[in-house]
Symmetry: C2
Subunit: 339 residues, 2 copies
């Protein structure tokens, strides 16, 4: 297999720089074809590398790309991208643009990643906005939630393109036959919804290149009612984070119950192996990062609170994305749809 260079922004996210670096080294361990550029403050990176026992083993497959600035979570994305030219995020993006890397992974400022992706890496011809589209677990397998990015206050024509790109992704990359595309709504009926949904609904209905099944209520998302869940980014973000929040609380209550008394501890011991197996399928972080769709290169955003494990998954995913050639698939299929 051809080797692949992934630029990792090690200064982004709540757990930077330790977790991204640990995750990167683990990814190198798991895949021999991987080369990683650790993009960030050199002294900090060296310090962290010193604490990772086997980091040295992989030193031929990683290099440090030294930067001097960091984009903070609270910064204005547009300002940060244009001013902080020597930040880890901007430099990692530029590596994708110049083909010094074939992909970049960051857990940093979402807005800056979204702006940077469109401004620094650039959109494919015909693509109006590049959405962030994470896979989410459902009872029937993964579904694509599109958009969870920073395209707040979206317009109907953007949602229509998100639906098309999402459908291409699920069909070509995830191999789902005729993916069911639905729009998030407050009721199942066509008449329901806010202005954006009401305006978008007939446009989606009129498309003949997607399998549009109508509205989806949030309640039906986890059960797997649709393969591509179309919504504007604010609502997408709420859906993604409700998965995370409700899941976390359930696990907490489960743990409390299982340690409450001797009887429940005994019960937990017996039931836990199969329970863990079951619940693993429903961990929203298991799919790692979310790719931005419709760009000229591969940009993967992972959770702000990502740990080493999620960085590893996100980095390894880049290889899958590259092999599946999402970029080409979207370019071919979107332009076909426009003729």
């Amino acid at each position: 297999m051809e080797s692949m260079i992934v630029a990792v922004d090690v200064m982004g996210g709540d757990n930077a720089p330790v977790e991204p670096i640990k995750g990167a080294i683990e990814a190198l361990k798991q895949n021999d074809n991987l080369v990683i550029h650790l993009v960030g403050t050199e002294s900090v990176i060296r310090e962290v590398l010193d604490t990772i026992p086997d980091a040295n083993t992989y030193k031929n497959r990683y290099s440090i790309v030294a930067t001097t600035e960091v984009i903070a979570t609270a910064e204005s994305p547009t300002v940060a991208i244009s001013k902080k030219k020597n930040s880890s995020l901007v430099v990692a993006m530029k590596e994708v643009k110049t083909k010094d890397a074939q992909a970049m992974v960051s857990a940093g400022n979402s807005g800056a990643i979204l702006v940077g992706g469109q401004v620094l890496v650039g959109r494919l011809p015909g693509v109006k906005r590049a959405p962030l589209a994470p896979l989410i677990p459902t009872e029937k397998g993964p579904a694509l939630l599109i958009d969870c990015g920073a395209n707040l206050d979206a317009r109907p024509e953007l949602l229509v393109q998100f639906a098309e790109m999402g459908s291409i992704y699920m069909e070509k990359v995830m191999k789902v036959d005729r993916p069911r595309v639905a729009i998030v709504n407050v009721g199942a009926e066509e008449e329901k919804g806010n202005k954006l949904v009401k305006e978008t609904f007939p446009l989606l209905k009129a498309l003949d290149d997607i399998n549009f099944i109508g509205s989806i209520e949030a309640r039906d998302i986890p059960s797997g009612y649709a393969d591509v869940i179309v919504t504007e980014a604010f609502v997408g973000n709420v859906i993604l984070k409700m998965y995370e929040g409700v899941g976390k609380t359930f696990f907490k209550l489960l743990k409390e119950a299982f340690t409450a008394n001797l009887k429940s501890k005994l019960g937990a011991g017996l039931a836990l192996p199969v329970l863990k197996e079951k619940l693993k399928d429903f961990d929203v972080t298991r799919y790692g990062g979310a790719p931005m769709l419709g760009l000229n290169g591969l940009v993967v955003k992972t959770h702000g609170s990502a740990t080493a494990k999620e960085f590893t998954t996100s980095i390894l995913q880049c290889i899958t994305f590259r092999d599946q050639n999402i970029k080409e698939l979207i370019r071919e299929n979107l332009s076909k749809g426009e003729n």
Copy 2:
């Protein structure tokens, strides 16, 4: 205790008429001071009553208010309210208006309930919109999610009033000291958000009659980060239904795990009592119905998919709401805030 008359729209919701009628009879059983008007098609009501063994025991405390029309889920709320004057929903609302009943409960068309509440029952002076505000479970007890109604495409000044009404509710009715009020956002920082949130944030910050703690990410809702969760109705609806959907899937996986093999069955037998106790606290339907705040009378909306148990809870809640006199509390405190 003074008796209370509750008008129940027995034709509304997915499980009408059986579940609302069963729930009503059960409520009569549980509270001697309750009188119920079963509002709906007479022949249908009589048929259902015949199947409930002990319904006859309470016949002195219920009466049938015969109607001839039903508002369907898919109907346009405004049209339905103005045209179907002899529908169960409209007649039950009018009973509240004319004081023939002190409250009404319905699981019917949400939009019609929201429009009917404002048009037929009417708003308190100074109230711009009446939101639907369900209690949702969190790790630290119930929180108020405001708005989950049909006020789609809300404006900043409406969200501000929702925040005030929600704060009054949590302080006076739920006895929470200085309730923490937060606005749903895609990040914790003040700079983040869509247009609506960005415009609303400074207005909430400027209010000195509420304890505004800033943005809340959806992830932090279940952990109990805020007591009053302010958002526009579309997002509120998504939050409420994600609770329901993710919860349902978790219970399903739990059940599958617990019945997977002999060992897990044995474990389940031991752990289940305490587990049930723990998870009970986190059932989004346990609080029954959601009151519309800011109306001239008491209108309670319960889930479209409510079962008899939830109708009983919602009907009994009316007594609590009446005793706590929410209407007066909002009138006094809101006008104070406006001086």
